[in-house]
Symmetry: D2
Subunit: 137 residues, 4 copies
Protein backbone atom coordinates (compact mmCIF):
# COMPACT_ATOMS: atom_id res chain seq x y z
CA UNK A 1 0.00 0.00 0.00
CA UNK A 2 1.29 3.40 -0.98
CA UNK A 3 0.18 6.85 -0.01
CA UNK A 4 -1.05 9.31 -2.59
CA UNK A 5 1.55 11.72 -3.86
CA UNK A 6 2.27 15.01 -2.13
CA UNK A 7 3.97 17.76 -4.12
CA UNK A 8 5.38 21.24 -3.74
CA UNK A 9 6.67 23.73 -6.31
CA UNK A 10 10.32 24.73 -5.97
CA UNK A 11 11.87 27.69 -7.73
CA UNK A 12 15.56 27.35 -8.66
CA UNK A 13 17.62 30.30 -7.46
CA UNK A 14 21.25 31.14 -8.11
CA UNK A 15 22.09 29.73 -4.64
CA UNK A 16 21.07 26.28 -5.92
CA UNK A 17 23.26 26.21 -9.02
CA UNK A 18 26.90 25.36 -9.67
CA UNK A 19 29.53 26.32 -12.21
CA UNK A 20 28.14 23.70 -14.60
CA UNK A 21 25.14 26.04 -14.96
CA UNK A 22 22.77 23.49 -13.39
CA UNK A 23 21.35 22.70 -9.95
CA UNK A 24 24.15 21.28 -7.80
CA UNK A 25 23.21 17.63 -7.37
CA UNK A 26 23.44 17.64 -3.55
CA UNK A 27 20.75 20.31 -3.45
CA UNK A 28 18.03 17.90 -4.56
CA UNK A 29 18.35 16.39 -1.09
CA UNK A 30 17.24 19.77 0.25
CA UNK A 31 14.30 19.89 -2.15
CA UNK A 32 13.26 16.35 -1.20
CA UNK A 33 13.45 17.16 2.50
CA UNK A 34 11.27 20.24 1.98
CA UNK A 35 8.62 18.03 0.34
CA UNK A 36 8.74 15.42 3.13
CA UNK A 37 8.55 18.17 5.74
CA UNK A 38 5.50 19.74 4.10
CA UNK A 39 3.81 16.33 3.71
CA UNK A 40 4.25 15.70 7.45
CA UNK A 41 3.21 19.28 8.25
CA UNK A 42 0.04 18.79 6.17
CA UNK A 43 -0.85 15.98 8.60
CA UNK A 44 -0.59 18.42 11.49
CA UNK A 45 2.67 17.00 12.80
CA UNK A 46 6.24 18.23 13.10
CA UNK A 47 9.10 15.73 13.14
CA UNK A 48 11.18 18.09 15.22
CA UNK A 49 8.64 18.41 18.01
CA UNK A 50 9.32 14.83 18.98
CA UNK A 51 12.86 15.67 20.13
CA UNK A 52 11.14 16.57 23.38
CA UNK A 53 9.89 13.00 23.68
CA UNK A 54 13.40 11.60 23.41
CA UNK A 55 12.92 10.57 19.78
CA UNK A 56 14.69 11.76 16.67
CA UNK A 57 13.98 11.08 12.99
CA UNK A 58 17.18 10.61 11.02
CA UNK A 59 18.02 9.81 7.42
CA UNK A 60 19.06 6.15 7.38
CA UNK A 61 19.81 5.69 3.66
CA UNK A 62 19.19 7.29 0.28
CA UNK A 63 19.23 6.11 -3.31
CA UNK A 64 19.35 8.83 -5.95
CA UNK A 65 19.15 8.72 -9.75
CA UNK A 66 19.83 11.79 -11.86
CA UNK A 67 18.05 11.88 -15.21
CA UNK A 68 18.15 15.50 -16.41
CA UNK A 69 19.43 18.72 -14.86
CA UNK A 70 17.30 21.60 -13.59
CA UNK A 71 18.41 25.07 -14.59
CA UNK A 72 18.42 28.53 -13.06
CA UNK A 73 14.94 30.09 -12.83
CA UNK A 74 13.20 26.76 -13.48
CA UNK A 75 10.08 26.09 -11.47
CA UNK A 76 10.07 22.40 -10.72
CA UNK A 77 7.68 20.07 -8.93
CA UNK A 78 9.06 18.02 -6.05
CA UNK A 79 7.00 15.12 -4.75
CA UNK A 80 7.00 12.72 -1.82
CA UNK A 81 5.03 9.50 -1.54
CA UNK A 82 5.10 7.36 1.59
CA UNK A 83 5.84 3.98 0.06
CA UNK A 84 6.40 1.96 3.22
CA UNK A 85 5.56 2.52 6.86
CA UNK A 86 7.48 0.30 9.24
CA UNK A 87 7.32 0.16 12.99
CA UNK A 88 10.60 2.09 13.33
CA UNK A 89 10.93 3.73 9.91
CA UNK A 90 9.30 5.41 6.91
CA UNK A 91 10.33 5.01 3.27
CA UNK A 92 9.55 7.79 0.83
CA UNK A 93 9.67 7.64 -2.96
CA UNK A 94 10.46 11.08 -4.25
CA UNK A 95 10.78 12.76 -7.60
CA UNK A 96 11.61 16.11 -9.13
CA UNK A 97 9.95 17.01 -12.43
CA UNK A 98 10.05 19.98 -14.78
CA UNK A 99 6.72 19.72 -16.54
CA UNK A 100 6.49 16.11 -17.63
CA UNK A 101 10.26 15.55 -17.61
CA UNK A 102 11.61 13.48 -14.75
CA UNK A 103 14.77 15.15 -13.43
CA UNK A 104 15.72 13.19 -10.31
CA UNK A 105 14.22 10.24 -8.43
CA UNK A 106 15.06 9.08 -4.92
CA UNK A 107 14.17 6.55 -2.27
CA UNK A 108 14.73 7.90 1.24
CA UNK A 109 14.51 5.85 4.43
CA UNK A 110 13.90 7.81 7.63
CA UNK A 111 14.49 5.95 10.88
CA UNK A 112 13.16 6.74 14.31
CA UNK A 113 15.86 6.57 16.97
CA UNK A 114 16.24 7.42 20.62
CA UNK A 115 17.76 10.81 21.31
CA UNK A 116 20.40 10.85 22.50
CA UNK A 117 21.58 7.31 22.05
CA UNK A 118 20.45 6.75 18.47
CA UNK A 119 18.99 3.28 19.01
CA UNK A 120 16.00 2.19 16.84
CA UNK A 121 12.66 3.07 18.38
CA UNK A 122 9.01 2.79 17.36
CA UNK A 123 7.65 5.92 15.67
CA UNK A 124 5.85 8.33 17.95
CA UNK A 125 2.36 6.84 18.21
CA UNK A 126 0.59 10.00 17.09
CA UNK A 127 2.78 10.23 13.98
CA UNK A 128 2.31 6.53 13.32
CA UNK A 129 -1.47 6.74 13.45
CA UNK A 130 -1.59 9.84 11.27
CA UNK A 131 0.61 8.19 8.66
CA UNK A 132 -1.46 4.99 8.75
CA UNK A 133 -4.58 7.03 8.12
CA UNK A 134 -2.82 8.96 5.34
CA UNK A 135 -1.92 5.69 3.63
CA UNK A 136 -5.59 4.73 3.56
CA UNK A 137 -6.93 8.00 2.15
CA UNK B 1 40.05 -4.83 -9.68
CA UNK B 2 39.85 -1.90 -7.30
CA UNK B 3 42.10 1.07 -6.86
CA UNK B 4 43.85 1.75 -3.60
CA UNK B 5 42.08 4.13 -1.30
CA UNK B 6 42.58 7.88 -1.49
CA UNK B 7 41.72 10.00 1.55
CA UNK B 8 41.54 13.59 2.71
CA UNK B 9 40.93 15.07 6.16
CA UNK B 10 37.84 17.25 6.50
CA UNK B 11 37.19 19.58 9.40
CA UNK B 12 33.54 20.07 10.37
CA UNK B 13 32.62 23.76 10.62
CA UNK B 14 29.41 25.38 11.80
CA UNK B 15 28.41 25.85 8.14
CA UNK B 16 28.18 22.04 7.84
CA UNK B 17 25.87 21.42 10.77
CA UNK B 18 22.12 21.61 11.28
CA UNK B 19 19.74 22.24 14.16
CA UNK B 20 20.05 18.59 15.17
CA UNK B 21 23.61 19.46 16.24
CA UNK B 22 25.15 17.16 13.62
CA UNK B 23 26.48 17.43 10.08
CA UNK B 24 23.52 17.98 7.73
CA UNK B 25 23.28 14.74 5.79
CA UNK B 26 23.35 16.36 2.33
CA UNK B 27 26.75 17.83 3.14
CA UNK B 28 28.46 14.44 2.98
CA UNK B 29 27.93 14.66 -0.77
CA UNK B 30 30.15 17.74 -0.71
CA UNK B 31 32.79 15.94 1.33
CA UNK B 32 32.71 12.97 -1.04
CA UNK B 33 33.04 15.22 -4.08
CA UNK B 34 36.06 16.93 -2.51
CA UNK B 35 37.72 13.53 -2.08
CA UNK B 36 37.00 12.46 -5.68
CA UNK B 37 38.23 15.81 -6.96
CA UNK B 38 41.49 15.50 -5.04
CA UNK B 39 41.96 11.90 -6.18
CA UNK B 40 41.63 13.00 -9.82
CA UNK B 41 43.79 16.05 -9.16
CA UNK B 42 46.48 13.77 -7.68
CA UNK B 43 46.61 12.06 -11.09
CA UNK B 44 47.36 15.41 -12.72
CA UNK B 45 43.92 15.77 -14.26
CA UNK B 46 40.95 18.09 -13.78
CA UNK B 47 37.45 16.89 -14.63
CA UNK B 48 36.38 20.41 -15.40
CA UNK B 49 39.07 21.03 -18.00
CA UNK B 50 37.36 18.58 -20.30
CA UNK B 51 34.38 20.89 -20.77
CA UNK B 52 36.53 22.41 -23.48
CA UNK B 53 36.57 19.07 -25.30
CA UNK B 54 32.79 18.91 -25.37
CA UNK B 55 32.67 16.39 -22.53
CA UNK B 56 31.17 16.72 -19.09
CA UNK B 57 31.34 14.41 -16.07
CA UNK B 58 28.04 14.26 -14.24
CA UNK B 59 26.74 12.37 -11.22
CA UNK B 60 24.56 9.56 -12.57
CA UNK B 61 23.45 7.90 -9.34
CA UNK B 62 24.32 7.71 -5.65
CA UNK B 63 23.63 5.25 -2.85
CA UNK B 64 24.21 6.54 0.67
CA UNK B 65 24.10 4.84 4.07
CA UNK B 66 24.29 6.82 7.28
CA UNK B 67 25.76 4.98 10.24
CA UNK B 68 26.75 7.62 12.81
CA UNK B 69 26.67 11.41 12.78
CA UNK B 70 29.70 13.71 12.65
CA UNK B 71 29.70 16.64 15.05
CA UNK B 72 30.90 20.23 15.06
CA UNK B 73 34.71 20.53 15.24
CA UNK B 74 35.23 16.87 14.36
CA UNK B 75 38.11 16.10 12.04
CA UNK B 76 36.97 13.25 9.87
CA UNK B 77 38.62 11.20 7.13
CA UNK B 78 36.88 11.06 3.77
CA UNK B 79 37.97 8.45 1.26
CA UNK B 80 37.41 7.57 -2.39
CA UNK B 81 38.25 4.30 -4.08
CA UNK B 82 37.73 3.75 -7.80
CA UNK B 83 35.81 0.47 -7.71
CA UNK B 84 34.87 0.22 -11.38
CA UNK B 85 36.12 1.90 -14.53
CA UNK B 86 33.75 1.58 -17.47
CA UNK B 87 34.13 2.95 -20.97
CA UNK B 88 31.68 5.79 -20.24
CA UNK B 89 31.64 5.90 -16.44
CA UNK B 90 33.51 5.59 -13.15
CA UNK B 91 32.15 4.11 -9.91
CA UNK B 92 33.61 5.26 -6.61
CA UNK B 93 33.18 3.62 -3.22
CA UNK B 94 33.44 6.31 -0.59
CA UNK B 95 33.45 6.47 3.17
CA UNK B 96 33.62 9.00 5.96
CA UNK B 97 35.26 7.91 9.22
CA UNK B 98 35.95 9.52 12.58
CA UNK B 99 38.88 7.54 13.84
CA UNK B 100 37.88 3.90 13.36
CA UNK B 101 34.13 4.64 13.39
CA UNK B 102 32.39 4.46 10.03
CA UNK B 103 30.04 7.45 9.73
CA UNK B 104 28.74 7.32 6.16
CA UNK B 105 29.34 5.09 3.14
CA UNK B 106 28.43 5.79 -0.47
CA UNK B 107 28.62 4.42 -3.98
CA UNK B 108 28.78 7.18 -6.58
CA UNK B 109 28.55 6.65 -10.34
CA UNK B 110 29.99 9.41 -12.50
CA UNK B 111 29.06 9.34 -16.18
CA UNK B 112 30.83 10.98 -19.08
CA UNK B 113 28.42 12.78 -21.38
CA UNK B 114 28.58 15.11 -24.37
CA UNK B 115 28.28 18.78 -23.49
CA UNK B 116 25.86 20.16 -24.39
CA UNK B 117 23.57 17.30 -25.33
CA UNK B 118 24.24 15.02 -22.36
CA UNK B 119 24.56 11.78 -24.37
CA UNK B 120 26.86 9.03 -23.03
CA UNK B 121 30.42 9.33 -24.31
CA UNK B 122 33.69 7.50 -23.75
CA UNK B 123 35.85 9.05 -21.02
CA UNK B 124 38.50 11.45 -22.25
CA UNK B 125 41.33 9.16 -23.34
CA UNK B 126 43.93 10.85 -21.15
CA UNK B 127 41.73 10.49 -18.07
CA UNK B 128 40.93 6.89 -19.01
CA UNK B 129 44.57 5.91 -19.29
CA UNK B 130 45.54 7.66 -16.05
CA UNK B 131 42.73 5.89 -14.19
CA UNK B 132 43.68 2.52 -15.72
CA UNK B 133 47.24 3.01 -14.54
CA UNK B 134 45.99 4.09 -11.11
CA UNK B 135 43.96 0.89 -10.80
CA UNK B 136 47.12 -1.13 -11.38
CA UNK B 137 49.33 0.67 -8.86
CA UNK C 1 12.99 58.47 -3.89
CA UNK C 2 12.44 54.92 -2.80
CA UNK C 3 10.43 52.13 -4.29
CA UNK C 4 7.60 50.52 -2.44
CA UNK C 5 8.49 47.38 -0.57
CA UNK C 6 8.37 43.96 -2.18
CA UNK C 7 8.13 40.89 0.05
CA UNK C 8 8.09 37.12 -0.10
CA UNK C 9 7.39 34.52 2.59
CA UNK C 10 10.25 32.13 3.37
CA UNK C 11 9.85 28.92 5.32
CA UNK C 12 12.88 27.86 7.41
CA UNK C 13 13.89 24.26 6.75
CA UNK C 14 16.48 22.10 8.47
CA UNK C 15 18.88 22.85 5.57
CA UNK C 16 18.92 26.50 6.69
CA UNK C 17 19.84 25.92 10.32
CA UNK C 18 23.09 25.30 12.16
CA UNK C 19 24.18 23.56 15.34
CA UNK C 20 23.24 26.66 17.32
CA UNK C 21 19.62 25.74 16.54
CA UNK C 22 19.08 28.90 14.48
CA UNK C 23 19.28 29.94 10.82
CA UNK C 24 22.94 30.00 9.78
CA UNK C 25 23.71 33.68 9.32
CA UNK C 26 25.11 33.34 5.79
CA UNK C 27 21.78 31.92 4.65
CA UNK C 28 20.03 35.27 4.99
CA UNK C 29 22.02 36.31 1.91
CA UNK C 30 20.17 33.56 0.05
CA UNK C 31 16.81 34.74 1.36
CA UNK C 32 17.62 38.34 0.38
CA UNK C 33 18.66 37.27 -3.12
CA UNK C 34 15.40 35.34 -3.53
CA UNK C 35 13.46 38.52 -2.68
CA UNK C 36 15.48 40.67 -5.11
CA UNK C 37 15.08 38.05 -7.82
CA UNK C 38 11.31 37.93 -7.36
CA UNK C 39 11.08 41.73 -7.30
CA UNK C 40 12.90 41.89 -10.65
CA UNK C 41 10.87 38.96 -11.98
CA UNK C 42 7.66 40.79 -11.02
CA UNK C 43 8.79 43.55 -13.41
CA UNK C 44 8.98 41.01 -16.22
CA UNK C 45 12.78 40.93 -16.30
CA UNK C 46 15.47 38.39 -15.49
CA UNK C 47 18.92 39.58 -14.42
CA UNK C 48 20.49 36.45 -15.84
CA UNK C 49 19.08 36.91 -19.34
CA UNK C 50 21.34 39.88 -19.82
CA UNK C 51 24.44 37.68 -19.83
CA UNK C 52 23.66 37.31 -23.50
CA UNK C 53 24.07 41.07 -23.94
CA UNK C 54 27.56 40.98 -22.46
CA UNK C 55 26.36 42.38 -19.14
CA UNK C 56 26.40 40.81 -15.72
CA UNK C 57 24.88 41.95 -12.42
CA UNK C 58 27.17 41.25 -9.50
CA UNK C 59 27.06 41.92 -5.79
CA UNK C 60 29.38 44.85 -5.13
CA UNK C 61 29.02 45.23 -1.37
CA UNK C 62 26.76 44.24 1.51
CA UNK C 63 26.10 45.54 5.00
CA UNK C 64 24.28 43.19 7.36
CA UNK C 65 22.93 43.61 10.87
CA UNK C 66 21.63 40.69 12.87
CA UNK C 67 18.97 41.53 15.46
CA UNK C 68 17.25 38.25 16.37
CA UNK C 69 17.59 34.69 15.10
CA UNK C 70 15.03 32.79 13.01
CA UNK C 71 14.31 29.23 14.08
CA UNK C 72 13.45 25.95 12.40
CA UNK C 73 9.91 25.87 10.96
CA UNK C 74 9.52 29.65 11.24
CA UNK C 75 7.75 31.35 8.38
CA UNK C 76 9.43 34.68 7.92
CA UNK C 77 8.86 37.65 5.63
CA UNK C 78 11.78 38.80 3.49
CA UNK C 79 11.57 42.18 1.80
CA UNK C 80 13.45 44.19 -0.80
CA UNK C 81 13.11 47.90 -1.48
CA UNK C 82 15.01 49.61 -4.26
CA UNK C 83 16.49 52.51 -2.35
CA UNK C 84 18.79 53.94 -5.03
CA UNK C 85 19.00 53.52 -8.77
CA UNK C 86 22.30 54.64 -10.24
CA UNK C 87 23.43 54.57 -13.84
CA UNK C 88 25.59 51.49 -13.22
CA UNK C 89 24.14 50.10 -10.00
CA UNK C 90 21.10 49.40 -7.81
CA UNK C 91 20.98 49.61 -4.01
CA UNK C 92 18.43 47.53 -2.14
CA UNK C 93 17.37 47.89 1.49
CA UNK C 94 16.29 44.50 2.71
CA UNK C 95 14.81 43.06 5.87
CA UNK C 96 13.72 39.76 7.35
CA UNK C 97 10.88 39.81 9.86
CA UNK C 98 9.04 37.21 11.91
CA UNK C 99 5.70 38.84 12.51
CA UNK C 100 6.57 42.33 13.72
CA UNK C 101 10.04 41.37 14.96
CA UNK C 102 12.94 42.55 12.83
CA UNK C 103 15.45 39.68 12.50
CA UNK C 104 18.04 40.91 9.99
CA UNK C 105 18.52 44.06 7.94
CA UNK C 106 20.80 44.58 4.97
CA UNK C 107 21.90 47.06 2.37
CA UNK C 108 22.99 45.37 -0.87
CA UNK C 109 24.64 47.13 -3.81
CA UNK C 110 24.36 45.35 -7.16
CA UNK C 111 26.65 46.60 -9.91
CA UNK C 112 26.29 46.16 -13.65
CA UNK C 113 29.55 45.08 -15.28
CA UNK C 114 30.72 43.90 -18.65
CA UNK C 115 30.92 40.13 -19.03
CA UNK C 116 33.59 38.97 -19.31
CA UNK C 117 35.85 41.82 -18.26
CA UNK C 118 33.91 42.99 -15.21
CA UNK C 119 34.18 46.74 -15.95
CA UNK C 120 31.35 49.06 -14.79
CA UNK C 121 28.62 49.45 -17.40
CA UNK C 122 25.26 51.20 -17.59
CA UNK C 123 22.33 48.98 -16.64
CA UNK C 124 20.55 47.33 -19.54
CA UNK C 125 18.22 50.05 -20.82
CA UNK C 126 15.10 47.91 -20.54
CA UNK C 127 15.88 47.04 -16.92
CA UNK C 128 16.73 50.68 -16.19
CA UNK C 129 13.43 51.96 -17.55
CA UNK C 130 11.39 49.30 -15.74
CA UNK C 131 13.09 50.12 -12.46
CA UNK C 132 12.60 53.87 -12.98
CA UNK C 133 8.90 53.27 -13.55
CA UNK C 134 8.77 51.01 -10.50
CA UNK C 135 10.26 53.75 -8.36
CA UNK C 136 7.47 56.08 -9.42
CA UNK C 137 4.57 53.72 -8.72
CA UNK D 1 46.30 47.80 18.47
CA UNK D 2 45.73 45.02 15.97
CA UNK D 3 46.62 41.38 16.07
CA UNK D 4 48.93 39.84 13.53
CA UNK D 5 47.21 38.21 10.62
CA UNK D 6 46.11 34.59 10.69
CA UNK D 7 45.52 32.80 7.40
CA UNK D 8 44.32 29.50 6.00
CA UNK D 9 44.34 28.14 2.45
CA UNK D 10 40.92 27.34 0.97
CA UNK D 11 40.38 25.25 -2.13
CA UNK D 12 37.37 26.18 -4.27
CA UNK D 13 35.20 23.13 -5.04
CA UNK D 14 32.17 22.83 -7.30
CA UNK D 15 29.96 23.05 -4.18
CA UNK D 16 31.16 26.66 -3.72
CA UNK D 17 30.35 27.93 -7.21
CA UNK D 18 27.20 29.19 -8.91
CA UNK D 19 25.85 29.35 -12.44
CA UNK D 20 27.88 32.51 -13.03
CA UNK D 21 30.94 30.25 -12.96
CA UNK D 22 32.32 31.92 -9.83
CA UNK D 23 32.22 31.40 -6.07
CA UNK D 24 28.69 32.21 -4.85
CA UNK D 25 29.12 35.42 -2.88
CA UNK D 26 27.43 34.13 0.30
CA UNK D 27 30.05 31.40 0.53
CA UNK D 28 32.81 33.84 1.46
CA UNK D 29 31.05 34.12 4.82
CA UNK D 30 31.78 30.41 5.26
CA UNK D 31 35.42 30.89 4.32
CA UNK D 32 35.76 33.81 6.73
CA UNK D 33 34.17 31.82 9.55
CA UNK D 34 36.60 28.95 8.92
CA UNK D 35 39.52 31.39 9.30
CA UNK D 36 38.15 32.89 12.52
CA UNK D 37 37.48 29.42 13.91
CA UNK D 38 41.03 28.29 13.17
CA UNK D 39 42.49 31.49 14.65
CA UNK D 40 40.58 30.85 17.90
CA UNK D 41 41.46 27.17 17.77
CA UNK D 42 45.15 28.09 17.40
CA UNK D 43 44.82 29.84 20.77
CA UNK D 44 43.61 26.56 22.30
CA UNK D 45 40.02 27.70 22.63
CA UNK D 46 36.70 26.71 21.08
CA UNK D 47 33.89 29.25 20.84
CA UNK D 48 31.33 26.49 20.99
CA UNK D 49 32.56 25.03 24.25
CA UNK D 50 31.33 28.11 26.05
CA UNK D 51 27.70 27.19 25.38
CA UNK D 52 28.08 25.13 28.52
CA UNK D 53 28.84 28.29 30.47
CA UNK D 54 25.62 29.94 29.32
CA UNK D 55 27.42 32.12 26.77
CA UNK D 56 27.12 32.18 23.01
CA UNK D 57 29.15 34.01 20.38
CA UNK D 58 26.96 35.34 17.59
CA UNK D 59 27.56 37.39 14.46
CA UNK D 60 26.35 40.91 15.24
CA UNK D 61 27.09 42.64 11.92
CA UNK D 62 29.10 42.24 8.74
CA UNK D 63 30.39 44.57 6.05
CA UNK D 64 31.52 42.92 2.82
CA UNK D 65 33.18 44.28 -0.32
CA UNK D 66 33.59 42.16 -3.42
CA UNK D 67 36.54 43.09 -5.61
CA UNK D 68 37.19 40.11 -7.91
CA UNK D 69 35.63 36.65 -8.17
CA UNK D 70 37.29 33.37 -7.23
CA UNK D 71 36.91 30.51 -9.69
CA UNK D 72 36.54 26.75 -9.55
CA UNK D 73 39.74 24.97 -8.51
CA UNK D 74 41.37 28.18 -7.27
CA UNK D 75 43.40 27.91 -4.10
CA UNK D 76 42.84 31.12 -2.22
CA UNK D 77 44.16 32.55 1.04
CA UNK D 78 41.64 33.59 3.65
CA UNK D 79 42.81 35.72 6.56
CA UNK D 80 41.48 36.98 9.87
CA UNK D 81 42.95 39.77 12.00
CA UNK D 82 41.51 40.72 15.36
CA UNK D 83 41.18 44.46 14.91
CA UNK D 84 39.28 45.32 18.08
CA UNK D 85 38.68 43.50 21.32
CA UNK D 86 35.81 44.92 23.37
CA UNK D 87 34.48 43.76 26.69
CA UNK D 88 31.49 42.08 25.03
CA UNK D 89 32.64 41.72 21.42
CA UNK D 90 35.43 41.05 18.93
CA UNK D 91 35.90 42.74 15.55
CA UNK D 92 37.77 40.89 12.82
CA UNK D 93 39.14 42.33 9.59
CA UNK D 94 39.15 39.60 7.01
CA UNK D 95 40.31 39.18 3.44
CA UNK D 96 40.36 36.62 0.67
CA UNK D 97 43.27 36.75 -1.80
CA UNK D 98 44.30 34.77 -4.85
CA UNK D 99 48.01 35.35 -4.97
CA UNK D 100 48.41 39.11 -4.59
CA UNK D 101 44.90 39.89 -5.87
CA UNK D 102 42.39 40.97 -3.25
CA UNK D 103 39.09 39.18 -3.93
CA UNK D 104 36.87 40.06 -0.97
CA UNK D 105 37.28 42.07 2.22
CA UNK D 106 35.07 42.03 5.29
CA UNK D 107 34.65 43.44 8.77
CA UNK D 108 32.86 41.04 11.10
CA UNK D 109 31.66 41.87 14.61
CA UNK D 110 31.11 38.90 16.93
CA UNK D 111 29.15 39.57 20.10
CA UNK D 112 29.09 37.57 23.29
CA UNK D 113 25.55 37.02 24.57
CA UNK D 114 23.83 35.02 27.28
CA UNK D 115 22.40 31.69 26.11
CA UNK D 116 19.51 31.46 26.05
CA UNK D 117 18.35 35.03 26.41
CA UNK D 118 20.76 36.67 23.98
CA UNK D 119 21.67 39.65 26.20
CA UNK D 120 25.17 41.19 25.87
CA UNK D 121 27.69 39.59 28.21
CA UNK D 122 31.41 39.94 28.86
CA UNK D 123 33.55 37.49 26.89
CA UNK D 124 34.46 34.32 28.72
CA UNK D 125 37.45 35.39 30.82
CA UNK D 126 39.74 32.68 29.49
CA UNK D 127 38.98 33.66 25.89
CA UNK D 128 39.40 37.33 26.77
CA UNK D 129 42.82 36.82 28.28
CA UNK D 130 44.03 34.63 25.42
CA UNK D 131 42.91 37.22 22.88
CA UNK D 132 44.55 40.04 24.86
CA UNK D 133 47.81 38.12 24.86
CA UNK D 134 47.41 37.37 21.15
CA UNK D 135 47.01 41.08 20.42
CA UNK D 136 50.35 41.75 22.13
CA UNK D 137 52.36 39.08 20.32
Amino acid sequence: MESKEFGIPVRVYIEDTDAGGIVFYANYLKYFERARTELIRSLGYSLRSSLNNGLSYVVHSIELKYHMPALLDDEIQVSARLSKLGKTYMIFDQQAHRGSSLLVSAKVKIACVSYPGLKPRALDSELGSRLKQYLQE
